[in-house]
């Protein structure tokens, strides 16, 4: 949504003044979220940075426990508690969400920034009618009469494609099917026409047909209202359909970030390769071998040394167990960053090898041949040994 107001140059911190036009809608800078637990400190989010422009979609991809949900809950200040520590800056329209009081935050939540939660059945209140819950969302932020809010609730249900909205408005959540509940959640999130919509696994529990409907709906709403969307998912197919940019998260960090085209055509991080190669795809040969990522995600309390992915990485080299990689630009692509210690050249060859179905052992040797980081790797002839 492009605000037509003149940019208020610098001091936009105070008051109801909307964002400086032109800047990103949301800037997350070195966000760290830790939770104190009986077992130790959980480093749920470990220094991530990204920006979201108005009208664009950012996809955050990762496994369970990679910190993707916590990072976006923090955007709404929902991880604040006695046992949590939030560092870094989350700047929405020029204002730092971390520095806001709870009172100020409440004005933003559900109004400028809203969220679609993963499980629609547990996120809707079973005792209240769907329409009532929609009205509450509106009346919390706008002065609106009951009847106006009720009419608007019906319109919202219609907007998200619920048939017979006049009747449905006065029904309870249990009378809705799974797909309809998810739509009602979306309607609620859109009630105040937010500038930023965070969708946490919005389609995970749904059938493909309903999933396609929901994704089409989100895209359509974005075009009409200019909403920025952050979509959190583990389904690469979903992000390919809807996202402009993708951030891949692993163990609380972003390990790769680039445009959707870059991530799918030239992925750089071994974890991204793993995600892409471990799912069967309709556009690949049927008998294609799946390459699972071995092992499982690390504990966020006792994190591995060096590169967090090294215990599961097939191409790990000795130094990777000590050196912690930084997120750096991929050579030649300034907007594509990756945190990997393999050299760009080696990564390129491994990815090409993976696509042509070369066996992993020869690719491991390829990785080993580039051990001196930027040494010009030669194609590994039948050079045996150096297995990890």
């Amino acid at each position: 949504m492009t605000d037509a107001g003149p940019p208020p140059q610098g001091e936009s911190i105070a008051g109801d003044d909307p964002a400086p036009a032109g800047g990103p809608l949301l800037t997350v800078d070195d966000l760290r979220v830790t939770f104190r637990t009986d077992d130790g400190i959980v480093h749920a989010v470990d220094g991530i940075s990204y920006t979201v422009e108005a009208g664009k979609t950012l996809g955050i991809v990762g496994e369970s426990g990679s910190g993707k949900t916590v990072s976006s809950l923090s955007t709404l200040g929902l991880t604040r508690s006695r046992n949590s520590q939030i560092d870094g800056r989350i700047v929405f329209e020029g204002r730092d969400i971390n520095a806001m009081s709870d009172e100020e935050l409440r004005k933003i939540r559900g109004n400028d920034v809203s969220m679609i939660f993963q499980d629609p059945l547990s996120s809707l209140h079973p005792f209240y009618k769907v329409g009532w819950q929609l009205m509450e969302a509106m009346q919390a932020h706008q002065s609106m009469s009951r009847s106006a809010a009720h009419t608007r609730a019906g319109e919202l249900l219609e907007l998200v494609g619920i048939p017979d909205p006049k009747r449905r408005v006065d029904q309870y959540p249990h009378e809705f099917s799974g797909g309809m509940r998810q739509r009602a959640m979306i309607a609620m999130a859109l009630a105040n026409e937010p500038k930023l919509l965070i969708a946490d696994e919005p389609t995970t529990a749904l059938d493909v047909t309903v999933q396609a409907q929901i994704l089409a709906l989100l895209g359509d709403l974005q075009r009409r209202l200019g909403t920025a969307i952050i979509i959190i998912t583990h389904d690469l197919g979903v992000v390919a359909e809807i996202a402009d940019e993708i951030a891949v998260m692993y163990a609380g960090r972003i390990v790769e970030h680039g445009s959707t085209g870059q991530i799918f055509s030239a992925p750089q991080h071994p974890y991204t390769w793993g995600l892409l190669k471990s799912i069967p795809r309709l556009d690949n040969p049927r008998d294609e071998e799946l390459v699972p990522i071995s092992g499982r995600p690390p504990s966020l309390i006792n994190r591995p040394s060096g590169c967090y992915f090294h215990p599961r990485c097939p191409y790990v080299q000795e130094p990777h167990k000590r050196i912690d990689p930084r997120l750096e630009s991929v050579a030649g692509e300034s907007d594509h960053t990756v945190a990997c210690l393999l050299s760009t050249d080696i990564r390129q060859r491994i990815w090409e090898g993976l696509q042509t179905g070369r066996d992993v052992d020869s690719l491991k040797r390829l990785a080993a041949s580039g051990n001196g980081r930027s040494a010009p790797a030669t194609i590994p002839a039948a050079e045996p040994g150096e297995e990890q």
Partner: protein
């Protein structure tokens, strides 16, 4: 090429009751309503469909975890529907099941060793304690679990490992038929492939026949030789994987396939065929062709006369009066799929080394 399983006109209706003391029946949920198919020995048959189409009920009927309302299931020459007592016990040596949720399908108060040993206890096999333990540890090793974890409890394992425990328990008796009901849908993407590969390996090693139920069409294509598509308690299309994914004839199959997101931003541009609305209630299914309320091609005939499962061009069997034409298939399917070979004879899957690129 003998059929291990023959299912004929299988019906399962659940009564809907009203009243607290004097219950009267006010209707039926027609979960499975006249399903017939065969499973050939050694093959993998996939069953796909949306939530509520009756795929899980079919699985449970095959295992006789439920009694069918009518129809027959013949497994290895035995009619399963009427089995009782010892007969049923004998059936369960042949037919085993892997459940969807690895969290609720394992008893949290039992150690992994005793969970996997349970089938042996029930069927009185390997009576010596040492021998039984050795068998269980063999199984754990075979499914990729550390045999030393014999005494651990389910909560100490991750989702993927729990599913391996479930698989180990299911293959303990070396059954002929394994029914996997959404075995990977509760798992993380990176772990799914581990379990899928495990099932394929076990199938090769033990010569299992597999009935694989899932809603993820990409996974089903990867795993299955033949696929049955179900809608509201009926099989609407049945074909080999190669045929079904290349030339689906039933509009419902076409819509399902076209809804699958393909992780390729360049290939995703296609004419999306979106089904509107939800699956109608199985308690009160639409007349004649049950899909006619959502079908983009429905005509008057569809609401009057029920289509039968008939062979359609291309080799699939579909229940539709107006099956998809080749042009429709070409525009609606994911681009890459349509490209793979339109109209080409669906030969046996060629062992292509990899996609040339």
């Amino acid at each position: 090429m003998t059929a291990l399983v023959e299912v004929k006109d299988l019906v399962k209706h659940f009564p809907i009751k009203k009243g607290i003391i004097f219950q009267r029946q006010i209707g039926h949920v027609k979960a499975v309503d006249g399903v017939s198919f065969e499973v050939v020995e050694g093959e993998t048959l996939g069953i796909v469909g949306e939530t509520g189409c009756g795929k899980s009920t079919t699985a449970r009927l095959l295992c006789r975890l439920m009694d069918p309302t009518s129809g027959t299931i013949t497994i290895d020459g035995t009619e399963v529907g009427s089995l009782q007592g010892d007969g049923l016990k004998a059936l369960h040596r042949q037919v085993q099941m892997v459940f969807q949720d690895p969290y609720s399908s394992l008893n949290p108060r039992k150690s992994v060793g005793s969970i996997i040993a349970d089938p042996f206890v029930i069927h009185g096999l390997y009576k010596g304690a040492g021998e039984r333990k050795r068998r269980v540890q063999d199984l754990m090793d075979r499914v990729g679990l550390n045999p030393e974890h014999y005494n651990r409890y389910p909560h100490e394992f991750s989702g993927g490992q729990r599913q391996r425990i479930g698989v180990a328990r299911a293959v303990a008796l070396e059954p002929k038929l394994l029914i996997a009901d959404e075995p990977v849908s509760a798992l993380d993407v990176s772990i799914q492939a581990q379990v899928l590969n495990l099932l394929r390996e076990l199938q090769r090693e033990l010569g299992l026949t597999l009935v694989f139920i899932a809603h993820d069409l990409s996974v089903v294509r990867h795993m299955c030789d033949r696929v049955a598509v179900m809608y509201l308690g009926k099989v609407v299309e049945l074909a080999s994987s190669d045929v079904l994914y290349r030339a689906p004839r039933h509009p419902y199959t076409g819509a399902l396939l076209s809804a699958v997101p393909v992780p390729d931003p360049s290939g995703g541009k296609r004419e999306r065929e979106l089904l509107t609305g939800d699956v109608p209630s199985p308690a009160n299914p639409p007349s004649a062709c049950r899909f006619h309320t959502r079908c983009p091609k429905a005509k008057e005939l569809c609401s009057q006369q029920e289509p039968l499962l008939e062979p359609k061009p291309g080799g699939s069997i579909a229940a539709c009066h107006y099956p998809l034409t080749d042009e429709e298939i070409a525009t609606r399917l994911p681009v890459a799929l349509g490209r793979q070979g339109n109209g080409a004879a669906p030969a046996s899957p060629s062992p292509a080394p990899a996609s040339p690129e």
